[in-house]
Amino acid sequence: MHISPVMWQFLMKWLTNSALFPREASTIAPYADALYFFLLLLTVVGLTLVCTLVFGFSIRYRKEKNPVAEHVEGSTLLEATWTIIPLALFLIVFVWGALLYFRIYNPPTNAMNVYVVGKQWMWKAEHPGGQHEINALHVPTGRNVQLTMISQDVFHSFSIPDFRVKREVIPGRYSTVWFNATTPGTYHIFCTQYCGTNHSVMIGEVTAMSPDDYEKWTQTSTSGTSLAQNGERLFASMGCNACHSGSAAARGPNLAGVYGSKLQLTSGSEVLVNDAYLRDAILNPSQHITAGYAPIMPTYQGQISEDGLIDLVEYIKGLKTNYRVQQTLTTSQSNQAAPTTPGVVKP
């Protein structure tokens, strides 16, 4: 038999690239695959059972062999069996699936954070150190990476099949996903939620690098200003510091060290200050008035881009003292050169 060499090459290439099964490149992947294989096994067993029954009965009781059907009403025992066994199996699948779900969607506390903004039709990754990437993401291997993602327009979905993680990127609210890449290499990023004309162009590549390489990469590709520095600039130019100056007479609450704390609101409820809270408090301030303050903050809806919000959030996150805030206020022509970033990257 003759196979054309081109065809042969093509087939070989495809087979060697293991195109029946994606690479396992994150710590989550083996867990996901274990459940996948369990489910595959269930399917194969179930299908074999049904096929055996159907073909077995078809051969055994075909008309030639069994000209007269024998009346069988049903069997409670049998029916109970095939109610309870599938139910039990499905419940196992449910518990297993739920455990996996919480593993994937509960980021570990020590994860390094990267922001991702989705928009028609590109991914923007923003590292706290000021590295901006489009349709690309560089991450170190062996380290927990959390992505805080938001969409600027419609629903997108951030998917890295080789890591077995995916999460919808939602307009108007942060969603997170995390992974720990195990193998250096490049992997696809897909937008899997249909997002308009160029949906299929919204793809990118995640590059997992050894920690050393990653360190080198961060140094060579930084834009020069960290997100927090951008945020500080925004904080001053939007006039946030006028009220949130941290002084006793200030009209807005003190923001230094506020991140991660619990706040008492005027509505009486208590909230945890996290990224989502900070973002929403900037856009819809009246719903997040800290107890003891008047609802006088204007809304910044439509005035700050999602990137700007990320800068501000990142700035407030790292704000430990109000020293520089007040200094910016007093020396009205603030100096552009900010020497060091207040603790941006969390361990």
Binding site: A19, L39, K63, E64, H71, G97, H199, S200
Partner: protein, 556 residues
């Protein structure tokens, strides 16, 4: 073919003729069809209309597969491709799958099966056919005017603020189609409750009627939620209001909730009637009552009931709360059980039967296998953690095509082949139809099995171009689609041929027990000469034998 291989019992072709007076020739002229109240004529109108839309939807599917033959975006531009899959989805879901079995076979058979002259509201039945066409034309209008590229899910805020295509037109079409579906369901429920022949108790009804009853409940209660959702989408789009727009304080997930509140039960609206067909076919060709009749009947109702509690499993990764996701995942696992019960009950119906392998039975076997795969892969997607990786990829495309095309379409074809002699009075070519059944089965598997692998590899759905390494599987899939296309064209040809040249079928070619088989084929306008009195259970083959032996005249 010898009598041991088959139960087909046709009258002597030399003397046989079609009945003189049937519902088909009772009145003549186009108007007698367009203004008819006869459920059988409306069913035939639906059959023609649905076939028309099926092939339009199928043509779009073909174009999609053709584009995906190569990784490059070479056949059509991206927005054209998006319009293709949107039209494919909208047409197939709302114009084919939802009305397919209920509006054709259900319309034709339910009144006969329960022994009455017509549906409760013949005029509303006709109205629902006109609404079907109106909705269909509006959808086609949206296509002709320049198309719509939202996908069939109309996801906000994409559909409301970010597209310049004919979203409102398409939504209006779907809105109208919703009312067509509501009226069909309403008619069935009233008919089944109020019009049963004397002696036709609930547990003597064929399972076909049970499953339609369950599906009708879903149609009546679910569809209006879709209607109001589409109204809100249209209003938001026209006036820029923001109920679903986060920048104005709306919640895009509210749309998802309301949309899937209908669109998940809609899946059961599509598959339940198909399950009814399978019950009839398997029972007839194994000459046995369906194993555990009551369990199968109640599992239909259970599916309908649970069907309303699981919709958010379409939103596991969309930002639904984790706790809510847990609840919905658990309930999803529960709704899988009644389907499993059905599969096993059908399998065991074969046990100790006297099985023959006519075309409808082949389709039913295809259904059993494909629906098992489709159902099990549904469990993959219902499991929370697995869903993260699989959803929005080709895995989900393959999954719902296994359920909808492998399940529903197989059942539809099984039903058409099963009742064709009743509807037209003539038999089709047995060998050609078996060929078509096998072709469809092979083509189907070739098309959609590779998509499972593609999905696990991570290929996203609705992609116009894709990375190189997915090509081989996509080529396989497209090749399969070609075979599948041939499989669907074949019945069109030989069924049309049979209309004129097919053998005379006689009243009961399959020797089945349903009331529909005890009357002439094609039936009279009002089905029965006199109202039947039912004194036997469904699928009572001994009764049939007894009756045939003592037959003096046919009932009707």
């Amino acid at each position: 073919m010898s009598a041991t291989h088959t139960i087909v019992n046709l009258p002597d072709q030399r003397t046989a003729t079609l009945p003189k007076r049937t519902y088909l020739n009772n009145e003549d002229g186009l108007l007698s069809w367009l203004l008819t109240g006869d459920h059988k004529r409306i069913a035939m109108l639906y059959l023609v209309s649905i076939t028309f839309f099926f092939f339009i939807g199928g043509a779009f599917a073909g174009l999609i597969r053709l584009e995906l033959l190569t990784p490059q975006p070479d056949l059509v531009a991206a927005d054209t491709y998006n319009k293709f899959f949107s039209m494919h989805g909208i047409i197939m879901v709302f114009l084919f799958l939802v009305p397919s079995v209920p509006a054709t076979l259900g319309n034709f058979l339910i009144p006969i099966m329960i022994g009455t002259k017509d549906l409760a509201f013949p005029k509303i039945n006709l109205l629902s056919w006109y609404l079907y066409w109106l909705g269909g034309l509006v959808v086609l209008g949206a296509m002709v005017l320049g198309g719509v590229d939202t996908g069939w899910t109309f996801t906000t805020p994409l559909s409301t603020h970010y597209l310049n295509t004919h979203v409102v037109t398409a939504a209006m079409g779907v809105f109208i189609l919703g009312f067509s579906s509501i009226f069909t369901g309403l008619n069935f429920i009233v008919t089944i409750h109020r019009m049963r022949a004397p002696g036709m108790t609930w547990f003597r009804m064929p399972l076909f009627v049970w499953s339609h009853y369950a599906a009708s409940i879903l149609m009546v209660l679910g569809t209006p939620v879709l209607a109001i959702t589409l109204v809100l989408v249209a209003l938001e789009r026209l006036f820029g209001i923001g109920v679903f727009d986060p920048t104005k304080g709306g919640d895009p997930l509210l749309f998802q909730h309301l949309f899937w509140f209908y669109s998940h039960p809609a899946v059961y609206i599509m598959i339940l009637p198909g399950m009814g067909v399978i019950s009839e076919v398997i029972s007839t060709f194994s000459r046995k009552r369906v194993f555990g009749y009551t369990a199968v009947a109640f599992s239909s109702v259970a599916i309908a009931l649970f069907g309303f509690f699981v919709w958010a499993h379409h939103m596991f990764i969309m930002g639904v709360s984790n706790y809510s996701a847990l609840v919905f995942s658990l309930l999803t696992m529960l709704v899988a059980v009644p389907s499993a019960i059905k599969i096993f009950n059908w399998s065991f119906t074969l046990q100790k039967g006297s099985i023959t392998f006519e075309t409808p039975m082949l389709y039913a076997f295809g259904f059993l296998g494909l629906f098992t795969i489709g159902g099990m892969t549904g469990v993959f997607l219902g499991a929370l953690g697995m869903d993260i990786h699989l959803t929005e990829t080709y895995f989900i495309v393959a999954h719902f095509h296994f359920v909808m095309v492998g399940g529903m379409l197989m059942a539809f074809l099984a039903g058409i082949h099963f009742w064709w002699p009743k509807m037209t009075g003539r038999m089709y070519s047995e060998s050609l139809s078996k060929l078509a059944a096998v072709t469809t089965f092979i083509g189907f598997n070739l098309t959609f099995l590779p998509q499972f692998i593609l999905g696990y590899l991570g290929m996203p759905r609705r992609y116009h171009a894709y990375p190189q390494e997915f090509q081989v599987l996509n080529v396989l899939s497209t090749a399969g689609a070609t075979v599948l296309g041939v499989g669907y064209m074949l019945p069109l040809i030989y069924l049309a041929w049979s209309l004129k040249y097919g053998a005379i079928a006689g009243n009961n070619p399959w020797q089945a027990t349903g009331l529909e088989w005890q009357i002439q084929s094609p039936p009279l306008t009002e089905n029965f000469i006199e109202t039947p009195i039912v004194d036997h259970e469904a699928y009572d083959y001994e009764w049939l034998e007894h009756k045939t032996a003592h037959e003096v005249t046919t009932v009707g």
